[in-house]
Amino acid sequence: MTEIQAGAGAAVEAAPVSQDVPAIELDNVVKEYVSHGEVVRAVKGVSLAITEGEFFSLLGPSGCGKTTSMRMIAGFEDPTGGVVRLHGEDVTSVPPNKRDVNMVFQSYALFPHMNVWDNVAFGLRRRKVPDAEIRRRVGEILEVVDLVGREKRRPKEMSGGQQQRVALARALVNRPRALLLDEPLGALDLKLRQAMQIELKRIQREVGITFVYVTHDQGEALTMSDRIAVMNDGLVEQLAEPREIYERPSTKFVAGFIGTSNLLSGAVQTVSGDTAVLALGPSDRIVIPVDGTVSAGDTVDLTVRPEKITITKEQPAGDLSVVRGTVSEVVYLGTYNSYLVVLADGAEITVFEQNAHDSTITAERGDTVWLSWQPRHSYELR
């Protein structure tokens, strides 16, 4: 792909906007449908503020309300309640064709009867941009998405990846204040998808437009986003940067949805300052950081990532969280070994062990092992 031209870079800059006002704001937005005589609450009160120039992802399983939320930003759905603001302006009842955002659809939704050039020029023509400027801007954006020389092709004569770039160009050429992308890579194969992830991020950096990205693919969201809102059942579960979402999932759902997590629960034995000690079995001792609302006797849920756990045959020394269990499964995965360990109370814990040294395996199926991790690597979940 060609590097973006200096002129093109300047050309796709949006009008100057205040950094203080969020580019997009959802204020307690609710969407209800009536389906087969029953009211379905697709979005149950979502509030979020997306900053200018941010790559923001709405991540969640299908039916979590992420696409509906995005469609309310685009104007294709009228919220049942709440307010949608674009750059501080209430656009809740503004139709899509009057909103300064553009969308890249999941199936691209290119105009099948138009060639690439006419597809990309569609928005500018509707806005009565002068012909000379249309020619310049369409030419520039086709260079950005590497489609120069394919102007006369029809969508059906192009590959999925090319169609995807036409869809991107068709939206970006209008220099929208924000670009909405609805699972745009879903139809591509893995290799192309990974290439397009990097490509999208590059384009976003170059044009400096706010991107709102809807996906159910956690890897995609973690790779590209500045911030992620993890959604479940019509609500935002956690809104944070990718690293924090992964390292410090705040709810059971997020911990389970993002990566592999071990979910444990146990009764608090003692609380001292900002740490609490839990006991699962006779030889187990789990130390977790707490915020002061926990007292002895409470049952708390906690999570710890598989790669944070050390597996040993001897009891480890030091101020670690320690549990004892039996190995029920060992899987060799090349860069790491994966162990499934069953604890005394029946809870299952997955442990990843890096193949950093020798290719020897620490434990075999049926071995009794000790699992240990730093107290700061486990968190209480709500």
Binding site: P95, P96, G123
Partner: protein, 287 residues
């Protein structure tokens, strides 16, 4: 063996249809072509003489009816587009889960024979019938007002009788439009009118194209509507051909007229397909 079988399969599949066409279309066409070039009469028999006069005389005597047929066919087709497009649009985009019900309702009258439907229109439109009777007794129209035996009645009948053949192809074309494509148009600043003109209409053109072919051809060569709903001034070429065949038994003239009509329609279709069936129209619409 398998290879041979694979090679023969397409021919085997086309054989029944091909045979049907050969017997009931190709053979009669050749017989007619031969007839149109014969001379003689029913009593003394016909002989093949390369008699071009049937064509020359036929066109000379009946060019009024030929022109009238084409005009009636065109008028009926235009009416069908105007009436049929909104119907197809409504069923495709507003029909919701009841689409098939509406399509069935559209086709329901057509379970009744073509001739019977036309005759019922005759009753309906007759000088003191269901429509004009009450209007006349209420004094809303003059006593000598009539619709039957006018070109309005014939064109109306034609437009009515072939309407589903216009609605169905347009419906199919509209139904195939991805609703996301319409959303994309809206997203790219097109209002309702622009979305319709730039996206819906061009994407429905294949349906309109097929609809025109399927209605213009039978409407132009129809004779039932003109004989049931029309008067002496509304004779179409179909009536002439029917008369020549069955009443006058002038087979050469009837065949010559049939071929003239067929040639005319073929040329018309060809020109039409060249003008509208290509991408050029869509390219213009894309702007």
């Amino acid at each position: 063996m398998n290879r041979l079988r694979a090679a023969l399969t397409p021919y085997a599949l086309i054989f029944p249809g091909g045979l049907w066409l050969a017997i009931f279309f190709v053979v009669p066409t050749i017989v007619m072509l031969s007839l149109s070039l014969q001379s003689g009469d029913v009593v003394n028999g016909f002989a093949f003489t390369f008699n071009w006069h049937s064509y020359v005389d036929g066109i000379a005597n009946f060019h009024d009816q030929i022109i009238r047929s084409v005009l009636y066919g065109l008028a009926a087709t235009v009416i069908q587009i105007i009436v049929g497009f909104p119907v197809a649009y409504w069923i495709a985009f507003r029909g919701g889960s009841r689409k098939s019900v509406y399509l069935f309702l559209l086709l329901l009258p057509f379970l009744v024979s073509f001739v019977l439907r036309t005759i019922s229109w005759q009753f309906f439109l007759s000088d003191n019938g269901l429509l004009l009777g009450p209007l006349k007794s209420a004094g809303l129209v003059p006593q000598d007002f009539h619709i039957l035996a006018t070109s309005v009645a014939v064109i109306g009948g034609l437009a009515y009788n072939f309407l589903p053949f216009m609605v169905l192809p347009i419906y199919v074309a509209l139904e195939r439009i991805d609703p996301r494509v319409l959303e994309a148009a809206q997203d790219l600043y097109a209002g309702r009118t622009q979305t319709f003109l730039r996206v819906v209409l061009p994407l429905s053109m294949p349906g309109v194209f097929a609809g025109v072919l399927m209605t213009f051809v039978p409407a132009t060569s129809d004779y039932v509507n003109a004989s049931v709903l029309g008067g002496t001034g509304n004779t179409m070429i179909g009536n002439v051909i029917q008369n020549q065949f069955l009443v006058n038994q002038d087979y050469p003239t009837a065949s010559a007229l049939s071929f003239t009509l067929m040639a005319l329609l073929l040329v018309g279709i060809f020109v039409y397909a060249r003008a509208l069936g290509t991408d050029d129209v869509l390219e213009v619409a894309a702007r």
